[in-house]
């Protein structure tokens, strides 16, 4: 039960090394060991996506990954999206288009959107909607989230190199 392991992982560009119980989930590692509380927990069945982070650039539900499984990887959380005091284009989009209300699902939504826009820089509305199938929002009815991601896609295209988060 209390067997421990040392997990070495790069989080938001910074090398971290922490000894944790082997059963520690990545989300708890991030929140409780590293204090990165922007990654949220909304369910216990990998349905809601509030805990979504990027592992080596790909979105993953951090409640379904043991911290040890991320060892050696580069993890990006919501706290790593803004750079040098300016918001990432997706964060700008959520603010501009009122893509959030309570803000609880928002970090996971933004991380999923980052993954989506990497794979598909100019998604249609239907592609955005299906790209969000791993994330639940109870406040917005998704319409403003769809607008936010479309806004970000345009902004990132204008910036020419996939935004400042990649």
């Amino acid at each position: 039960m209390s067997e421990t392991v040392v997990v070495q992982v790069t989080v938001n560009g910074e090398a971290r090394s922490v000894e944790v119980e082997a059963r520690t989930l990545l989300v708890h590692f991030l929140r409780e060991e590293l204090g990165l509380t922007g990654t949220h927990v909304g369910c216990d069945t990998s349905q809601c996506g509030a805990c979504t982070v990027l592992i080596d650039g790909q979105s993953a539900k951090s409640c379904t990954v043991f911290a040890v499984q991320a060892a050696g990887a580069a993890v990006t959380t919501i706290e790593g999206m803004a750079r040098g005091g300016s918001l990432h284009a997706i964060q700008e989009g959520f603010w501009e288009e009122h893509g959030l209300q309570c803000g609880y699902c928002t970090p996971g939504m933004i991380m999923s959107a980052a993954d989506l826009l990497q794979r598909n820089p100019s998604p249609s509305e239907a592609e955005i909607r299906s790209g969000l199938d791993g994330n639940l929002c109870r406040c917005t009815g998704y319409q403003h989230i769809v607008n936010a991601i479309a806004f970000a896609a345009k902004q990132m295209a204008a910036e020419g190199e996939g935004g400042n988060g990649s």
Partner: protein, 784 residues
């Protein structure tokens, strides 16, 4: 006001920098977990905590029997008798998930591990799960100290002398009702079901309680929409005065009516006191499905009397509400709200309801977005649809025939409410035009000719907002606000209406910005902490802007009056001629340095007055309580277009068009967000969301895998418009909008699906309209 201002709440939230309950950490903090009943009904025979107590990190294990004398029962606001409800069951369990024991340990995993080591033996009793069967003679009793399973039976409306309804059937006069049905040219009768649903805020509940014995003071962080009521009950639970307790509602991940006051908070507070350390509990999602209050679960037997021209002459409803095993804060109150909206938007002269609230072995119900109103509007709008079909009239025209007319406001409905204002027909016409309704009907006809199951559904909803005055709402119908012009001229305001996603910090600042003639950026709004906002009722019942906003305006008026007096003193003018604009105070036509002063100049003088105006105290800080004289009634119309797949029974919601009227709009962006979210929450119970219990009272839909709240790809782009009919009941002219979409969307979608299947001889289907249910209906019909 009226600007699509981006929210000032958002920069922190989009960076993951909000402090939600699970982000609250205190030194020496302990973690709590609950052992919960696996059975729906039974007597606790034995609980063995020995093994759990010796687990690593465990500091305390207690049972309901241990806590029984330490804590009062869970609070209920109702004038009617209600059963005892302990935070942790001392002897009987009455729903799956009811707590029976508590572990406190040094970390969360240790607390969870120890739960598994607690042995619980319960003697199982038969479970009551069907609200109508629970009314039969000699049922199993949920509460042995109640004569039967009826929590409340109340008659309301025409022929009932008391405005609040009566429990004494012998005083009810049936003559008018009977005459209306005797004279009816057509009568529609239908049993309808509003399924049990889960509010499902994406953040679950949680609490951190810190009792400091040296100070005799409780500080408690909790996911509550009502911090002041929370403080009152929590203080009392620990034998403290309200002056010895502070409730902080941190950033909150949604509430929707379900986050108010729960037993877990009492336990956390009591155990923090006992252990001398802060105690934290975070609900997990499985617990949330079992133990965060459920909603709806009302069966309605509806009879509608009408003339052949479509004029509705009477509506009679027998409502059976399954309220679950106990009463929470407003459990008994919520279904009573259904009666008051049974008139919908129509001039129905005779309305009578009988409401029976029934105990079952399920989680209690309480408020959830709409709170009694979606049930009412569902019953009315399904009935209007059935009437249209019976009379072979267009559904839109049946509604038009019965609308309350603009000149009839304020309008006293037969259901007991006074509607403030409205132009219903104008809004209906706008909706039909936006949807291109005639064209849609033509498309439907041609699709049907090809054998496709295409349906159009319409709903016209009324929402009851701004619940008040205090005679109407058990905990007070007012709201509190304070406004302080700081020494530097900036404004700090507080409100008792604690937001959790509604954007108060933005929209309330817009209201004050207009009032003071400054930019919204010069104003900060604080809320969600009883030590910050001195009093409050809370963010419930779509009342924040109307009641809370007006309270702020009242406080603002007082501050402005003082500012005018100080400015007049400084300018050697009369206070009556002082104006506020462009961030300055002073004389009309004056200039900076000559007749007009900055806020900072006036404030600086006010806090250090060289000469006080007569009868004026120093400083610029005022507070106000505002109580409305009556409620506001926003309204709207939705049209849904669906196609049902003949082979799979799956519903494709293709279009959703609507027009809402919520009175004056302060921030269109925020209003749209509220409407969108509300519509999604109304579509859910129409198509996918339903809590199901089996015959043993086990919850079958206890995760997001089984309980399907809408995902992005389940929903179309909502095509929305607005009309604005200001309310005469508050200076803003606002009506409220928080629950509108949820109320109107369910009947629109259900009506559309029934319309799609009407060719097969289907006249009514109870939601939830899942593929399996519809597929069976289609196959049954095709077999003839």
């Amino acid at each position: 006001m009226g600007r699509r201002l981006k929210r000032r709440e958002d920069p922190a939230l989009v960076q993951g920098l909000g402090t939600f309950i699970d982000d609250v950490r205190l030194p020496m903090m302990l973690h709590m977990a609950f052992k919960r009943s696996d059975l729906a009904h039974g007597r606790i025979v034995r609980i063995d905590t020995g093994a759990a107590e010796s687990m690593p990190g465990v500091r305390l294990v207690v049972t309901g029997a241990d806590l029984q004398d330490l804590l009062p029962t869970v609070p209920v606001m109702t004038p009617f008798p209600y059963p005892e409800h302990h935070a942790v069951a001392p002897d009987m369990v009455r729903y799956v998930g009811e707590p029976v024991a508590v572990v406190v340990a040094e970390n969360r995993s240790q607390a969870r591990d120890a739960l598994d080591a607690i042995e619980v033996e319960i003697e199982e009793l038969p479970a009551v799960v069907d609200s109508e069967a629970a009314l039969e003679e000699r049922p199993t009793l949920v509460h042995a100290d109640f004569a039967n399973n009826v929590a409340l039976r109340i008659f309301s409306g025409t022929g009932v002398a008391e405005a609040a309804g009566t429990q004494d059937q012998s005083t009810v006069d049936d003559r008018e009702l009977e005459a209306a049905f005797a004279e009816a040219e057509v009568v529609i009768s239908q049993r309808m079901v509003n399924p049990r649903i889960a509010p499902s805020a994406i953040e679950t509940r949680g609490v951190v309680a810190q009792y400091e014995s040296a100070r005799e003071y409780l500080t408690i962080w909790s996911t509550t929409q009502r911090p002041h009521a929370h403080r009152r009950f929590l203080a009392a639970a620990l034998g403290l005065g309200e002056h010895q307790a502070r409730t902080i509602a941190p950033e909150m991940g949604g509430g929707f009516g379900a986050k108010k006051i729960y037993g877990e908070d009492f336990v956390a507070a009591a155990l923090s006191k006992q252990l001398g350390a802060p105690v934290k509990w975070i609900e997990d999602r499985s617990e949330a499905f079992l133990t965060t209050t459920h909603a709806r679960d009302v069966v309605g037997y509806i009879d509608l009397a009408a003339k052949r021209d479509g004029t509705v002459t009477a509506l009679k409803a027998r409502l059976i509400a399954d309220i679950g095993a106990y009463e929470m804060l407003l459990t008994a109150f919520i279904p009573t709200l259904t009666h008051g909206l049974l008139s919908g938007g129509y001039a129905i002269p005779v309305i009578r309801s009988e409401l029976i609230e029934v105990f079952t072995n399920k989680m209690p119900t309480d408020a959830y977005r709409g709170a009694g109103m979606p049930e009412a509007i569902f019953f009315v709008e399904r009935s209007m649809e059935l009437l249209a079909r019976e009379l072979e009239m267009d559904p839109a025209e049946v509604r038009r025939k019965n609308f309350i007319q603009p000149e009839e406001f304020p309008y006293q409905t037969a259901a007991g409410n006074v509607y403030d204002s409205g132009e219903y027909e104008r809004l209906l016409d706008k909706t039909l035009e936006m949807a291109n309704y005639e064209e849609l009907r033509a498309q439907q006809a041609s699709a049907r000719a090809k054998g496709r199951l295409v349906g159009l559904g319409l709903s016209f909803y009324i929402e009851l907002c701004a619940i008040g005055p205090s005679t109407m709402f058990p905990d007070g119908g007012w709201e509190y606000g304070s406004v302080t012009v700081e020494r530097d001229g900036r404004i700090t305001a507080t409100t008792g209406s604690s937001a959790h996603g509604q954007g108060h910090e933005t929209s309330f600042a817009q209201v004050l910005a207009d009032q003071f003639g400054v930019e919204p950026g010069a104003i900060s709004l604080l809320h969600g902490d009883t030590a910050v906002a001195k009093q409050g009722v809370g963010t419930v019942a779509s009342r924040s802007l109307v009641v809370g906003g007006t309270a702020l305006l009242s406080a603002g008026d007082k501050v402005k009056a003082k500012m005018a007096q100080f400015a007049a003193q400084m300018l050697e003018a009369r206070a009556e001629v002082i104006t506020f604009e462009g961030g300055t105070v002073g004389l009309v036509g004056g200039l900076a340095g000559a007749g007009r002063l900055s806020f900072a100049e006036v404030a600086s003088y006010a806090y250090s007055p060289q000469q006080l105006p007569a009868g004026v105290e120093p400083g610029l800080s005022e507070e106000a309580f505002w109580e409305p004289t009556g409620m506001t009634f926003p309204y709207g119309c939705y049209i849904a277009q669906v196609e049902v797949d003949r082979e799979t029974g799956e519903v494709d919601l293709q279009r959703f068009v609507g027009v809402d009227d919520c009175g004056t709009i302060v921030n269109p962006l925020i209003v749209e967000g509220q409407i969108h979210g509300g519509i999604a929450q109304g579509i859910g119970p129409a198509l996918t969301e339903e809590l199901k219990y089996d015959e043993q009272g086990q919850l079958l839909t206890g995760s997001f895998m089984d309980y399907a709240i809408p995902r992005a790809s389940d929903l179309p782009t909502f095509e929305l418009g607005a009309t604005v009919t200001p309310s005469p009941l508050n200076p803003l002219g606002a009506k409220g909008t928080g629950e509108a979409g949820t109320i109107g969307a369910t009947p629109a979608v259900v009506n559309a699906v029934v319309d799609a299947l009407s060719e097969l001889g289907v006249s009514h289907i109870d939601p939830t309209l899942g593929a399996e249910k519809l597929w069976s209906l289609i196959k049954h019909a095709e077999r003839g």
